[in-house]
Structure formats: C-alpha cells, structure tokens
C-alpha cells in the first residue's frame, strides 16, 4: 500500500518538485553572488579610504605643483572608486531582489505541493472507504471516479505551479534586463549611479514581518518617495468613529469616503460589484475609480504612485499592499479592507504569511 501511495505522491508532485529542484540550485548561486559583491565592495572601500588618507598626508606634508597634481590624481581615483562602489551596491541590491523573488516562488510552490498532498491524502482515504461497497462493479466505479477527480485536481494544481514558476522566471528575467541595460561595468561615467530608493527603503519594511517567513518584496517597483503633506493642504474626512482626519488631496479623500461607504459588503472572490460583493483589490480599485483614478485590477499591481517610506507617514487613501492582499488607510491608525465583510481595522503589515510589499500613495 505504502509503495503505491508513494508512487502516486511522486507522480502528483512531479511539476512542483522539478521547479523546487531548479530553485534549490539558484538561491545558492545568487546568495554567493551577493556575498561576493559585498566582499568586493568592502575591499574597494578600503582602497578608497587608503587613497583618501594618503591624499591628506600628501597635502599636509608637502607643497608645490607636483604635490598638488598628485593630490588631484588621487582625488580622481577616489571618485572612480566611489562610482564603482555605487555600481556594486546597485548590483548587490538587484541580486537581493532576485533572491527574494526566488524565495517567494519557492513558498508558493510549497503551498501548491501541500495542496496536492492533501488532495492525494483525501482521495486515498476515500479509496479505502469505498472498499465496503457491494457489488464489486459499484465499488470499481466509485474508485474510478475518485481517481479521475484526483487526476483533474492535480492537473489543475500543477497548472498553478507552472504559472507560479513562470512568473518567478519572468520576474528574474526582467531584473536581468534592468541590470544588463544599465552599462554596469562603466565606472568612469560622470553622473553618479544612484541606488534606487525602493531598494534602500526595503530594509525598513521587512522589519514588520512577524511570522518568521520574513518580509521581503515581490517584484517591487521603483517609485518616487511620497512627500509629507504641506501646510495649508489637505481635505477633511469624517471617520465612522467620529474623528476627522486629513487626506492629502481631494482624490484620496473621495476614495476613502467611497471605500467607507462599502462597510459590511460581503467578500466575493474576484468581486467588483459595489454594494453587492467585493474582493480586496476590487474594493480599492472601485473606490479610487469613484474618485476618478483608475488603479490596476489585482492587489500586487496596485503598487502605484509614490512609495510611502514608513508607517508613521501614512495618510488617508494610502494603500497597504501584500503579495495577495491590499487595504486602504483611512487615518487615525486604521485601514479599511475587504475581509468578509468589508471592515475597518488597525493598520498592520502582516497578513497570514503573505509577503508585505509596501505602502503606496496612488495620488503621490
């Protein structure tokens, strides 16, 4: 019995296992590449410091044309080294994103695999249970039906796994393109290479993940940083609790009011029918739509506008985005989201093991 079950399990998990095997090699290589870059940056940084110290010595202990020229050359060298350091930091960060993308792919792959194992377990139990049916023809028919249904479910789930792995590979490919197109080996370019803000601020975001799975980010877009509200701006919103808060602009205020008007509407997967049934991104999308701003349809795509760098800078209308969920900040430390039903709760960054991506201001 066990041997047969094992065969079924192995067969059912073939797709997820092949993807898992592929992943098993890649993170190692990518982590190695990242560590290598860190080491390179450290050693190049030491060279720069030495050059700087020597230049200072030279300037202190000598004078005259030759010394000036030597100091100027040293300064040029320091500049080049700094450029190299900046470039290296950029590559290092991109490698970190790649590693994270793979990690997310791995988790989703694991989830699909768990689901497949559960389906197999349920079907095996059913097969044993229908053994008691008489006559044997009826028993055989029931068994055949169980196996056919199992086959269909595994097909559906491995289709999902294939989609996940495709997405992961797409994300990695696009990262590769971003790096490759940036002339990464040039160190003498006049303009300094900036490390994208979204990479920099990521460290602050990942701290929020409380579930051991870590924070991280899924294909995080590079966006400008949201600016704080300026004096004399802001639009009042009255919250259900009686407090009044200020949204950064009219659109955000309208979106919050539109979202609050949906409190109590039941959760419907894929739902965009206001007043009848909404899913999380359906709530945020249709609420901003009412305010005259079109957002993309899915939670993960709603990382638009400007990125809000920290939780204390959130304003009404900002979106809290996870890999598979989104909520809208309403102010006073609260947010509205389409759970079942649409409801108001405290702002948080954890969501049932999902990856927290960040805070976004669509109107920023």
């Amino acid at each position: 019995m066990t041997a047969e079950v094992e065969q079924v399990v192995r067969g059912g998990l073939d797709t997820t296992n092949r993807f898992a095997a592929k992943l098993e090699h890649d993170p190692g290589a990518i982590n190695g590449a990242r560590d290598g870059h860190v080491a390179l940056r450290t050693s190049v940084g030491q060279v720069r410091d030495q050059a700087g110290a020597q230049r200072a010595n030279l300037a202190n202990s000598a004078s005259g044309y030759t010394a000036d020229r030597a100091a100027a050359a040293s300064q040029g060298l320091e500049k080049e080294i700094q450029d190299l350091l900046d470039e290296s930091a950029r590559i290092e960060n991109a490698v970190a994103v790649a590693a994270e993308t793979l990690h997310v792919g791995e988790i989703r792959n694991d989830q699909v695999r768990d689901q497949i194992v559960r389906e197999i377990a349920a079907s095996m139990k059913a097969l044993q249970a229908v053994n008691g049916i008489q006559p044997p023809e009826s028993r055989a028919a029931a068994a055949r039906q169980i196996l056919l249904q199992l086959q269909a479910k595994i097909g559906q789930l491995t289709g999902q796994a294939a989609t996940f792995s495709e997405q992961t590979i797409d994300q990695l490919t696009s990262l590769g393109r971003q790096l490759g197109g940036s002339d990464a080996t040039t160190t003498s370019s006049a303009s300094a290479t900036h490390v994208p803000q979204s990479f920099n601020s990521n460290g602050a975001h990942t701290g929020g993940g409380g579930d051991g799975g870590g924070g991280g980010f899924v294909g995080k877009p590079r966006l400008p940083v949201a600016i704080p509200p300026q004096p004399g701006t802001g639009v009042d919103i009255n919250l259900p609790g009686g407090r009044t808060v200020k949204a950064p602009n009219e659109t955000a205020a309208k979106a919050v009011r539109a979202a609050l008007s949906q409190l109590g509407v039941p959760y419907v997967w894929g739902g965009t029918a206001r007043g009848q049934g909404l899913d999380c991104s359906g709530l945020t999308m249709t609420s901003y739509q009412d305010a005259g701003l079109q957002l993309p349809r899915t939670a993960r795509q709603q990382t638009v506008g400007a990125e809000v760098p920290s939780i204390d800078q959130l304003l009404p209308g900002d979106l809290v985005v996870w890999s598979g969920h989104v909520a809208m900040v309403i102010g006073d430390g609260q947010m509205v989201e389409a759970g079942d039903p649409v409801q108001v709760g405290k702002i948080r960054t954890t969501n049932a093991g999902q990856q927290f991506i960040g805070f976004y201001r669509p109107t920023g």
């Binding site: 791995e106 792959n109 194992v117 095996m124 139990k125 249970a129 229908v130 039906q145 799975g213």
Partner: protein
C-alpha cells in the same frame, strides 16, 4: 515554512497510507454494522433496488403494473431508479460521514437528502 530540501516523499506517503488504512478499517466497521448499502424505491407495483452509484441490483414488476402500458412502465422504472440512487447516496453519506469529508462524499454523488426532499426515504 518547510524548505524545499526538507520535503520527504517517503514519509509523506507513509503518513497518507497510514491515514487511509485507518479510514478503510473504520469504514468497513461501519459497513458491517449498517449491512449492504442499497437504495430502494417502490411505486404502482414496481420495486427497484440499486447499489451506490446507481447500478441496478433488483427489479420486480407486478402483473398489475404490466397493464399500465410499456411507455408508462418504462418511465416509472426510470423515475424509481433515479430515486433509489439518491436514497443509496443518502445512506452512503450517513455511513461514511464520520470517515470522509462532506466535499468528498458529495463529489462522489453521496448527498444527504433533506427531510422535505420528495425522494427522501420515509416522507
């Protein structure tokens, strides 16, 4: 979160085999208490018995039923075997509900009949 490398197919298979063996033992104990599961329906001198899933295992037609004409008799048999199949499914659901999930039972056609269902056994 379990990592890729830690997944042990052999162990998982053993666990599944173990759980299903237990389900098998429990189900057969329940079948031996309940007796063979058969769905029955009877009307106008025709009696039909089917096994779970709808296989016809018994059919009795009285002389009076023959007088109703072949068309009426054929449609009566069809109607009764459909009813008997639903009753067999209801019994299967009753017997196996402590062993298998409702979803699983329903997907096999073993659905509970509500009391007000016209096909329910003792209405």
């Amino acid at each position: 979160m379990r990592s890729v490398a830690e997944f042990d197919v052999g162990l998982e298979a053993a666990r599944i085999a173990d759980a299903s063996a237990r389900a098998g033992v429990e189900a057969s104990a329940r079948f031996s208490r309940s007796g063979p599961v058969v769905g029955k329906a009877e009307s106008h001198g025709v009696a039909v018995s089917v096994a779970p899933g709808g296989l016809l295992v018994g059919l009795a037609i009285s002389r009076s039923a023959l007088r109703s004409g072949s068309d009426a008799l054929a449609s009566l048999i069809m109607e009764l075997s459909g009813r008997a199949t639903r009753r067999a499914g209801d019994r299967m659901n009753e017997v196996l509900s402590p062993v298998l999930d409702q979803d699983q039972l329903v997907s096999l056609g073993y659905e509970r009949l509500t009391e007000d269902d016209p096909d329910a056994q003792y209405s």
